[in-house]
Symmetry: C2
């Protein structure tokens, strides 16, 4: 982080909290935030400079890019003495799907929702229920029920299906959706977002690359926490959950740290 301002270092420390982010995931955040459009690309030099500001070494970045190419997220090509990287159509689709969950100021998730149910103890439909869970689109509730977003699918594979217009969620299910450990992480993130905001209020303006880096670290911290639990309406979370407050603080923070255009990042690299 040499050559960065004290304000930047103080804010970046809070957003990394001492732990090093997984580089693979950090690069997904960067492309999702800055280069999600068709035709967007980031040079190896600019990417290296950005992740360097977040404490990531060039070798770690190269290993992560290799893995992202292998998994079908990223495509790359040589360009003069360097390289150029961009999201594949798969990577763009994944990023686009995640974006509302990350960036929407209010997450209403108004529904409809649906429940799929097996026959219970005698095992009727148990296999079909496990099939639904394997898609990753369902929340298990006990051993006999799964909850999914949207209207009832056409083919329920023999499960009992119910489209739901209203929920009442008891404590045991709220704690299953968001256990104490994740509740604590929300409280910690809220404090960190407030502290970063205060640091930016006090300090001199950041340069373009510092702005981009703090923005990306904030997006990454927020995204990582969000994806540790299912995407459900607020009524599914325990009393005292700091999610909606974190969302407002996050949106305010990234609004004052606008993503620089790719051309400015390339120019600074």
């Amino acid at each position: 982080m040499q050559g960065t301002s004290q304000t930047y270092r103080d804010a970046a420390d809070l957003m990394t909290r001492g732990e090093s982010h997984r580089v693979w995931s950090l690069i997904v955040t960067i492309f999702g935030d800055m280069a999600q459009g068709a035709g967007d690309a980031i040079s190896g030099a600019a990417l290296s400079r950005l992740v360097g500001m977040m404490g990531v070494r060039p070798e770690a970045m190269r290993v992560a890019l290799h893995r992202l190419r292998k998994d079908g997220w990223i495509d790359s090509r040589r360009e003069g003495r360097g390289s150029l990287h961009w999201l594949t159509p798969f990577g763009r689709a994944q990023s686009a799907e995640a974006s509302p969950r990350i960036y929407d100021r209010v997450r209403s998730l108004s529904g409809p929702w649906h429940l799929l149910m097996s026959g219970g103890a005698d095992g009727t439909g148990r296999v079909q229920l496990e099939g639904a869970l394997l898609t990753g689109d369902y929340l298990p509730i006990g051993s006999q029920v799964v909850l999914g977003q949207g209207p009832l699918p056409n083919d329920l594979h023999g499960l009992f299906g119910a489209e739901v217009s209203r929920f009442q969620v008891p404590g045991w299910l709220r704690h299953q959706v968001c256990p104490a450990e994740i509740m604590a992480l929300y409280s910690a993130l809220e404090a960190d977002l407030r502290a970063v905001t205060a640091i930016l209020d006090r300090g001199p303006p950041l340069c373009a690359l510092e702005t981009a880096a703090i923005r990306l670290l904030a997006v990454h911290s927020w995204r990582r926490l969000l994806f540790r639990h299912p995407d459900l309406p607020d009524a599914f979370f325990p009393e005292g959950w700091r999610g909606p407050d974190c969302r407002i603080l996050f949106c305010d923070l990234v609004a004052r740290l606008p993503a620089p255009g790719l051309d400015r990042v390339e120019a600074a690299a």
Copy 2:
């Protein structure tokens, strides 16, 4: 059944199918059909004549009336040399609740409905779910889910509740709601109702008491079958279920066999 017409005996045979109805339940049918209003009462003599036409001996009727009084359905008093019987407020309420299910020409049950769910294998909410089942207002689905009519109750006693706008019902649940044995009873009742209708079409008109007795036997057969399964929309019943056809046949039959006024029954007794 002495002194009754051949037409009556042929029709009554079909509606009793050789088996003797439980007298207790038959008397509930009679009061529900003929004397559900506040102030309605039936004399012992008229009741005795009516059930006599259905093959019930006076001693059996007296035993049944005793039990109905003990259970809070019926109240009685001496009246001259005989007695007078009427439904208690409880009996009237029970009859009124059952009436739409018995007499409505179309049973739409359009909802809303709601599901209550326990936490599954770990037993969370198991006791509360059993409490809901004890009310008799819920259909169990496996060991973790119960289905009830109406909007979500205010207090779910810690269960997960969902108000349902649409269902898709698999075969295993349809066969739980209406197993093969009850399916067969519906098919048999359909045939019997058609046969009784044909007998009435062919024969000379019944007298007032015969009309009342055939009507009551039809109501009783229909009511007994209806209450052998939960009251659910048609979508919860197996393919080939004769319920809606039976309902139309039953309604047509009782429409041509109007309940005589209590005064006519008393005059005939």
